[in-house]
């Protein structure tokens, strides 16, 4: 097993493309986006089936990557999160096939 970083970014759907551009530019090898159903934050509360405009939907981006592109990306994502709703966390994980990333 080989150590990699798992980045998890919970971000509003309208900003998804922007986040993806940042990730791609930084050279992560891939990411997968999961839909969210509902959420709660400092005062806010949203639910997918209850908002026709879907403008408050959040999504979760998961990217497994080497440490270096992740370190690259953090500053840019920080900037994005100054403007858009979202939170980011990273953790160390182990993967099977390091050449895959």
């Amino acid at each position: 097993m080989h150590e990699k970083i798992r980045l998890e970014l919970i971000i509003e759907r309208m900003a998804l493309k922007r986040a993806c551009r940042i990730l791609e530019t930084a050279g992560v090898s891939g990411y997968t986006v999961l839909p969210a159903l509902s959420g709660y934050g400092r005062g806010s509360r949203w639910q997918r089936d209850r908002d026709l405009s879907a403008s408050q939907d959040m999504v979760v981006i998961i990217s497994i990557s080497d440490e270096s592109p992740i370190r690259n990306v953090l500053l840019k994502l920080h900037e994005l999160l100054d403007q858009h709703i979202g939170i980011l966390n990273i953790a160390r994980v182990e993967v099977l096939r390091p050449e895959r990333f």
């Binding site: 309208m14 986040a19 997918r48 209850r50 403008s55 900037e79």
Partner: protein, 325 residues
């Protein structure tokens, strides 16, 4: 008065009230987003096709062009008025006021559709090209709002990861504009003969689908109100009620000066008075992420939409009849 009662007791309005009540009573029922979005696309296709077929029957007179232009001008100007009111009367900051103003300059296609139904049942006629006016009024307000938000501020740096053109694509190529304009063009090209074979899907069931959609809108509006009302002070709620009247008056004045028929006058008033709750909120998250959706969505969907549906439309219809009848 009778007209108003007839409006209030139509299945469409009653299903909206049903949804609203269920949400206010904290029922957990929901209509799946994927299904509601499918219905929304159906409704826009249907209304576009209908407008297009009607347009194919008549000429493109000069009047049509002036009404189209008037719609664009209205959508550009209304946010300025809305912004001024909000900044004078409420404590909203510049960004929230500009974002809210964008909603009131743009339009609500469901309000428009409901109005066309009421106009017909009142025995009046409306023109197919009003659908084109509706489509054209969706976007300009957003540009005005962007200018209002930035006036006097130092130029905002572009958001990380943003791309030139993404806002323009979101605003000009969102589902409702693509489908409305596209279906309008298709209806216009294929005319009555093309429409014939698809009218069992796009014409006959239309009002029924609208009932189902309004049930969902009632649920959304009720939930918006329950969650958002704490964020709205008195002046904001009042804005949600008087602003449509101001806009409708302006729309009516323009229609009067252009001398268009009563049904179209009512529709232009409705377009001016209605506020967006699908296209503009999404655009605002891209263009002004700092503005708070709980303010503009609650106002537009929770306050102004029900007001227009129950009180506004019959009122505008009454005045349109008075001016142009």
């Amino acid at each position: 008065m009778d007209q108003m009662l007839a409006t209030l007791l139509s299945p469409m309005v009653l299903f909206f009230v049903l949804g609203l009540s269920a949400a206010l009573l904290r029922s957990q029922m929901t209509i799946p987003e994927a299904f509601a979005k499918g219905l929304a696309i159906y409704l826009m296709m249907a209304i576009g096709l209908k407008g297009g077929v009607e347009m194919s029957r008549s000429d493109f007179s000069l009047q049509v062009w002036t009404v189209l232009a008037a719609g664009i001008v209205l959508s550009f100007c209304l946010p300025v008025i809305a912004f001024a009111f909000l900044r004078w009367t409420s404590k909203m900051d510049r960004i929230d006021a500009a974002a809210t103003a964008a909603h009131y300059g743009s339009i609500s296609i469901v309000t428009f559709v409901a109005a066309t139904q009421f106009i017909r049942s009142a025995g009046l006629e409306s023109s197919g090209y009003m659908v084109a006016v509706a489509a054209l009024m969706e976007a300009p307000a957003i540009i005005t709002a962007l200018i209002l938000a930035q006036r006097g501020q130092k130029k905002a740096p572009s958001v990380a990861g943003s791309e030139s053109g993404e806002l323009y694509r979101e605003v000009l190529l969102n589902a409702s504009i693509v489908v409305l304009v596209g279906a309008l063009a298709i209806g216009w090209v294929t005319g009555e003969s093309g429409m014939e074979r698809i009218s069992p899907f796009f014409v006959d069931p239309f009002q029924g689908v609208l009932c189902l959609f309004l049930l969902d809108m009632g649920l959304s509006a009720g939930r918006g109100l329950r969650q958002g009302w704490r964020q709205l002070d008195f002046s904001a709620v009042a804005f949600g009620l008087y602003m449509p009247l101001v806009s409708a008056a302006l729309g009516g004045a323009i229609a009067w000066s252009l001398g268009i028929q009563a049904g179209d006058t009512a529709l232009l008033m409705v377009l001016a008075a209605s506020a967006s709750y699908i296209a503009v909120p999404a655009a605002m998250r891209l263009a002004m992420p700092k503005a708070k959706p709980s303010i503009y969505l609650t106002l537009s969907l929770g306050v102004t939409f029900p007001f227009n549906l129950a009180v506004g439309i019959p009122l505008y219809l009454y005045f349109a009849n008075l001016i142009q009848g």
